[in-house]
Symmetry: C2
Subunit: 168 residues, 2 copies
DNA sequence: TATTGTTATACTCTATAACTATA
DNA sequence: TATAGTTATAGAGTATAACAATA
C-alpha cells in the first residue's frame, strides 16, 4: 500500500533466470487483493483483515479467538484488538464457551451477517477484477491450486524453517 | 512471522460460503514463502526482500532504484535502505547512469552473483517444499497462472481502488 | 503445567514530507 | 515543472513478555 504502481513484465524484463517469480507474483497479487478488498469492505473496521475474520466467523461454526488467530495466521494478541473493533461496530459478539470457560466464542450478529452479505458481492467483483487476465476456468484452476497448496502447509511443521519459531 | 502455526482446512471448516479463500490462500502461501526464503537466504541482509532485489538486479539489465521499487512494489524511500545494506555487504554496486546523471544503476558484483547462485538452489528447494501438495505439472500450472494474473495488473490503473492512492 | 484471553512495552516496518541534483 | 535519490520523522503494524483465569 505504498504509493507505487505495480510494474510487471516491463520491456526490459528478460527470462527469469531463477526461482523468484513465485514470490513476486504472490506479493503483487496479495498487495492488490488487500487494496481492492479494503476498498470493497470500506464499511468494516480493520480493512481486508476485518473482512477475513468475519468470513471465518461465519464459515466456521462460532470459533474462539485462538482458533481464528491460528487459522488466519494472526497473532493472538492482535486478534484481541481486531475482535474489539468488530464488537464495537456491532458485527460480532463475544459469548462464553460453555465447554471451556477460558474461551470466548465469536458469533456473528444479524447486522454482521447482513453487512458481510453485501460486501461479499463487492469482494467478488474485486477478485474477478484482480484475476482479469484469466478466463473463468483458469480462475477456478488457480483458486483450486492455491487452496490445495496452502492447505498442504499443515503437516510439515517439524521439517521446515518456520517450525523453529512457530513451535517456540 | 508471528508465533502461530497455519491451521488450514481444519475439521470444522465448512464449504466456503463467500469469496475469501483467495485472500486466505495467498496470505498463507506468501507468509510461508517469506519464512522459507528468509531461511534459505540467511546469508543475505534484508531476508527474502534482499533476495528478490538481487534476483531482479540480475534479471533486468542493470536497473535504477526507481525501476526496482516500482517493479517490486516497494517504496522508493525503502529501496534506498535496501540497496544501502546490499552495497555494504558487497553484493551490488551503485554506478552512475551515463544517460541520466540523477539515476544510479544497480549492478550485481561478482560476489553478489556467486551468492545468489548458491542461494537459488536453496530457494528452489524451499519453493518446492512450499508446493509439496502439488505434483510437478500442477506447480507449473500454478506458476504460470500466478504470473499471468499478476502480470495483468498493469493496465487497469484508472479503474480500480488502488488507482486513487497509486496516482496521488 | 499448559492454554485462553488481555494488556503493556518495545520494535520493525511503512508512509509522508522535505530536500538535492538533475532533467 | 517533473523525476531520481536521499534523509528525517511520525505512524501503523508486529512481536515479546507478563498477567489472570481456567483447564
Amino acid at each position: 500500500m505504498s504509493g507505487t504502481t505495480v510494474h510487471p513484465t516491463p520491456a526490459r524484463r528478460e527470462k527469469a533466470t531463477g526461482p523468484s517469480p513465485l514470490g513476486w507474483g504472490l506479493t503483487a497479487l496479495l498487495r492488490e487483493w488487500g487494496a481492492r478488498v479494503k476498498a470493497a469492505a470500506a464499511d468494516l473496521p480493520q480493512g481486508s483483515r476485518g473482512y477475513q475474520v468475519l468470513r471465518e466467523v461465519i464459515d466456521s461454526q462460532p470459533p474462539n479467538q485462538a482458533t481464528l488467530a491460528a487459522r488466519l495466521g494472526i497473532d493472538r494478541t492482535v486478534m484481541t484488538y481486531l475482535i474489539d473493533s468488530l464488537v464495537e461496530s456491532g458485527l460480532v459478539e463475544r459469548t462464553p464457551d460453555p465447554l471451556d470457560r477460558r474461551a470466548r466464542r465469536i458469533v456473528i450478529t444479524e447486522h454482521g451477517r447482513n453487512t458481510v452479505n453485501e460486501i461479499d458481492a463487492h469482494v467478488a467483483e474485486a477478485e474477478s477484477g484482480l484475476l482479469a487476465a484469466l478466463d473463468p476456468s483458469e480462475r477456478e484452476q488457480l483458486l483450486g491450486l492455491i487452496e490445495r497448496a496452502a492447505g498442504g502447509l499443515v503437516h510439515d511443521d517439524e521439517r521446515c524453517a518456520t517450525a523453529a519459531r512457530a513451535i517456540d
